[in-house]
Symmetry: C2
Subunit: 227 residues, 2 copies
DNA sequence: CCCACAATCAGCCCAAAGTACGAGACATTT
DNA sequence: AAATGTCTCGTACTTTGGGCTGATTGTGGG
C-alpha cells in the first residue's frame, strides 16, 4: 500500500512543486494539501495520512503549533518540518515537538522523498546541514560532574542531602525520615564537613551541580499554590 | 580532489568489505586502514585524511576514546562512528564527542557513501533508525519552566537572586554589589515575598528550576580548594 | 506637583541553622 | 575482644536569616 502524504505550505507554487516532485516517486501518494495551520488540522484529522510534509512559516496557525497539536492526537501522522531558513529557534522548537523530520527547502528532491519513506517507516531524518548543530546542542547539554566526594557519604547522608536539596528544613527532614531533628543536624553537619561546604545552601547548589537532583523533574512541593 | 578516507575496524573482513563498497564510489579514496584505537591515532595523524570511518568496539583503545582524542587535535578529520548494535550508551557518548556521523553497520552502502560525502562537506549524518531516539533525548532535556512571577522582579532583585542562587550569604552579596547588608536583606525579603518562597534555600531551588541559573556552568566559587 | 516604585539604609525580635562535645546501640571487620 | 563506622539522640552556644516597622532618595508618569 502506498504511503499517503499531505502537503502543507502557504504558497501554492511550493505546494504544486512539492506535489510534482513527490509524485515522481513510486509508492507515495499525495492525498491532500493545506495552506495554513488550521487547514492542516482539519485535513490531517480527516484524511489521516501516514506522513505530513509541512512548512514552518504559515499565516494564522503556524506549522510548529499545528505539529504540536497534531502530535497530541492518538496515532498522529509522521510529521516532517520544512523550512527555508534554518534558525536555531525553528530547529529546537521542532525537535522539542518530537517531529519525525526536519529538512531545508534547499534539499534535493531525492532527500525529500527518502525522508518521507523513512518517516513512514518509523525513522526520522534531520537535514545533514543542520545535524552538526543538533549534535552540538546535544554535546553542550551539561552532564553533571560526578563529584568523587559523593562516595564518602553514607547512604543515610545521601538521603538527607536529597531532601536538603529539595529545600526542606531540618524539622521537615526529621519528620520525613522519622528521626529526631538533632539527628538531622548531625547528618547535615557530616555532609557539610565531608563535602567541604559552608552551609546547607551550598549543599543545594552542590546537589544540583553534581546531578544529585535535577531541574525539571517537577518537585512541586517547593512552589506554593500561587499559580 | 578526491575525499581521502581512513577505515578503522578490528575485523579485517569488515575493513575489506568497507573498502570494496567505498571504492565503488567516485571521488572517494581509501588511503589507510587501522585495526585498533592506537593504530587509528597514529594513522590518522600521519595521513591526515578528510574523513575517518571508525567502529566503536575495538580492542585496546576503543573507537570512542580514539575519536575523543583525535577531535582534540587541530583540524581533526571528520569522524563517522560505525556500530553493530545501537545502544543508547554508544549513541550518547558519540554525540557528546561531537562526531560527524553515527551509522549502523546494517546501513545500506549508498548511505555510507553519502555520509562520507556529507561529513567531508561539513555536515553530519545520524542513522534514520536512531534519529528518533536523538530527537527524544533532545525533547526530554528539561527546559526550565519560565515562571511568570520572575517578571515581577526588578532588575536589582533578579541580580540578587542570581547571587543568592550561587550560594552567597547576605554580607557576600552586599560586598559583591557594593551595597549594605541591610539593603540585601530588603531585596531578599522582596524576592521571597514576590515569588512566594519560604526562605533563601527555596529561592536557590527556584532559581535552578526556573533556569535563572543552570548547572554545569562552572560556578567554582562554591566549591572550596579541597580538590 | 504628586504618586508609585525602585533602591538604599536602620533597629528589633525570634526562629533556624551551624558548631562543639558527648554518648549509646548496632553491625562488620580484624 | 577490640576497633571501626553508622545511625541515633542530647545540651549549650553563636551566628545567620527573615519578619516587621519604619525612613530617605531619585526617577518616571499622570
Amino acid at each position: 500500500m502506498a504511503i499517503r502524504l499531505v502537503i502543507a505550505d502557504d504558497q501554492a507554487m511550493i505546494r504544486t512543486g512539492l506535489r510534482l516532485v513527490i509524485e515522481t516517486a513510486p509508492g507515495i501518494e499525495v492525498v491532500g494539501e493545506a495552506a495554513d495551520g488550521r487547514q492542516v488540522l482539519t485535513v490531517a484529522r480527516q484524511l489521516r495520512p501516514d506522513v505530513l510534509l509541512m512548512d514552518i512559516a504559515m499565516p494564522g496557525l503556524d506549522g510548529l503549533s499545528a505539529a504540536r497539536q497534531l502530535l497530541e492526537d492518538p496515532e498522529p501522522p509522521k510529521i516532517i518540518m520544512l523550512t527555508t531558513f534554518n534558525t536555531d529557534d525553528n530547529l529546537h522548537a521542532s525537535l522539542r515537538a518530537r517531529v519525525h523530520g526536519f529538512l531545508l527547502k534547499s534539499s534535493p528532491a531525492e532527500q525529500l522523498i527518502e525522508a518521507v519513506r523513512v518517516a513512514a517507516a518509523g525513522g526520522a531524518v534531520i537535514d545533514p546541514a543542520v545535524t552538526p548543530r543538533v549534535i552540538d546542542s546535544f554535546a553542550a547539554q551539561p552532564q553533571p560532574v560526578p563529584a568523587p566526594e559523593l562516595a564518602t557519604l553514607t547512604p543515610r547522608e545521601l538521603e538527607v542531602l536529597r531532601l536538603l536539596a529539595d529545600g526542606m528544613s531540618n524539622p521537615e527532614i526529621a519528620r520525613d525520615l522519622r528521626i529526631g531533628e538533632v539527628t538531622v543536624r548531625t547528618h547535615v553537619g557530616h555532609i557539610l564537613r565531608k563535602l567541604s561546604l559552608r552551609d546547607r545552601i551550598h549543599a543545594v547548589v552542590f546537589a544540583y551541580e553534581a546531578g544529585v537532583v535535577r531541574p525539571g523533574r517537577g518537585r512541586d512541593d517547593v512552589r506554593d499554590g500561587s499559580c
